[in-house]
Amino acid sequence: MEAPLRLVVANPLDRLARTLEALLVVTSAPLSLDELSAAAAEDSERVETALRLLAERYSEGRSGIVLERVAGGWAFRASRDAADACARLFERPVQRGLSQAGMETLAIVAYLGPCTRPEIARIRGVAADSAVAGLVERGLITEAGRGSDGAGGAVRYRVTALFERVFGLESLSQLPRLDDLGEDVDAIRERLHAVAAQRTA
């Protein structure tokens, strides 16, 4: 262990540079000079010197990881040479469909909507928070006021125009009929609640 130790002493900036690399690879937002200095417990002048060193090492043409100075501070990005590969990588999740949780939640909101998260949770037998959040993020459902029990009630959700587009529907009346479950929405809702109660019994 003699050699590496000598190396650190010989070029202490190298150690600081390694710390900065670590901080920059973990962060989800550009880090300012102040943030980097505070985290590395080093004065900002030395941090700036180390950053210049890193900017040279992580530069276009030399590395696939590029250190860039942006408005908010410093951040790693992918090199432009790899733009095509990155584009192919990001195209992939598009193909993925909806999860079982997402599909069940969406079906409940589409057929019974507007409805609240507690109601969705009751029917599915599982908390609906992350499924609802995912669908809102994808723009398939959106908030539609509060529950009938007044202003203090839970937020209700309904499907969006994007939902209709994705499912190729002109309107919700084009949803496949569910006569086998009940003659109207109220009957279907009642049936789902009854089954859910049995499941948890």
């Binding site: 942006v70 951040a75 079982q100 079906a107 086998d180 479950l181 089954v195």
Partner: protein, 255 residues
């Protein structure tokens, strides 16, 4: 020691034992969330603080905890109970050993995970998106609306019904034995417990024993045993046949 005033500090409940019982019976507290072993531990701790063994308290506690456990077992594993009840004693013991082993292993696995997590304390990685990564457009491939109808249909399928009809057979109400023993005591002043329960199933024997403790607690009988594992002798006391309110309470609880 008054068992009902036993102070508890559990995950799901904090307060005296009798309040816990009230909440459970009113179904305001889910028994499934109650750590019964924690209650037993607390009781044993309190017991150990005293110099002499409080038989009265032990008897009452045993009755209450047994009732709690029975309720919990029924609530937690209705199907399981049915499976176990069909097993021969040997098989049931085997099954019990298997389950204990399974839980032991899971506890060990949890311990391993905890140690692993401590070892990995210095491992940092990015959880969110990269700061300057291109924002992928979250498009969705066209979907078939029939898929929506299908999941809703599946959600409307009733789960298989669990028959509880045979349960009463395997868990005879304590009241049944109370009545039987009281009737016996009206004819005879002394009887041999072992003889009375001879030929009964293990569950029935256990419930019969609970009935015995209940009678003892109500001061209607005395229990004696010449030596450990010798036959248990039951004798009528003067007060026997006095009050019947306990019976009513048990009918409610084991209905």
């Amino acid at each position: 020691m008054i068992v009902r005033e036993l102070e508890l500090d559990l995950d799901a409940f904090e307060g005296p034992f009798d309040l816990l019982l009230t909440l459970v019976l009113k179904e305001e507290l889910d028994l499934a969330d109650v750590d019964v072993a924690g209650i037993v531990l607390r009781f044993v701790e309190r017991l150990a603080e005293r110099d002499e063994l409080d038989l009265e308290a032990c008897g009452e506690f045993l009755v209450l905890v047994a009732a709690l456990l029975e309720l919990k077992a029924r609530g937690l594993f209705p199907e399981e109970e049915a499976e176990l009840a069909d097993l021969e004693p040997e098989e049931a013991a085997e099954e019990l050993a298997r389950r204990l082993a399974e839980y032991r292993r899971m506890k060990e696995a949890a311990l391993w995970l905890r140690e692993r997590l401590a070892d990995e304390r210095d491992r940092f990685f990015r959880l969110g998106p990269a700061p300057l990564a291109p924002q992928p457009e979250r498009k969705l491939a066209p979907q078939d609306p029939e898929g929506l109808a299908q999941v809703l249909r599946l959600l409307a399928v009733a789960p298989p019904q669990v028959s509880l009809a045979h349960m009463t057979l395997h868990f005879p109400p304590v009241a049944q034995f109370l009545e039987r023993f009281r009737a016996l005591l009206r004819r005879r002043s002394i009887f041999d417990f072992d003889q009375e329960i001879d030929g009964l199933t293990r569950q029935e024997q256990a419930v019969a024993f609970l009935a015995l403790l209940e009678l003892r607690r109500a001061n209607q009988i005395t229990i004696s045993q010449a030596a450990p594992f010798a036959p248990i002798r039951i004798a009528r006391t003067e007060e026997s046949g006095a009050s019947d309110e306990r019976t009513t309470a048990w009918k409610l609880r084991s209905a």
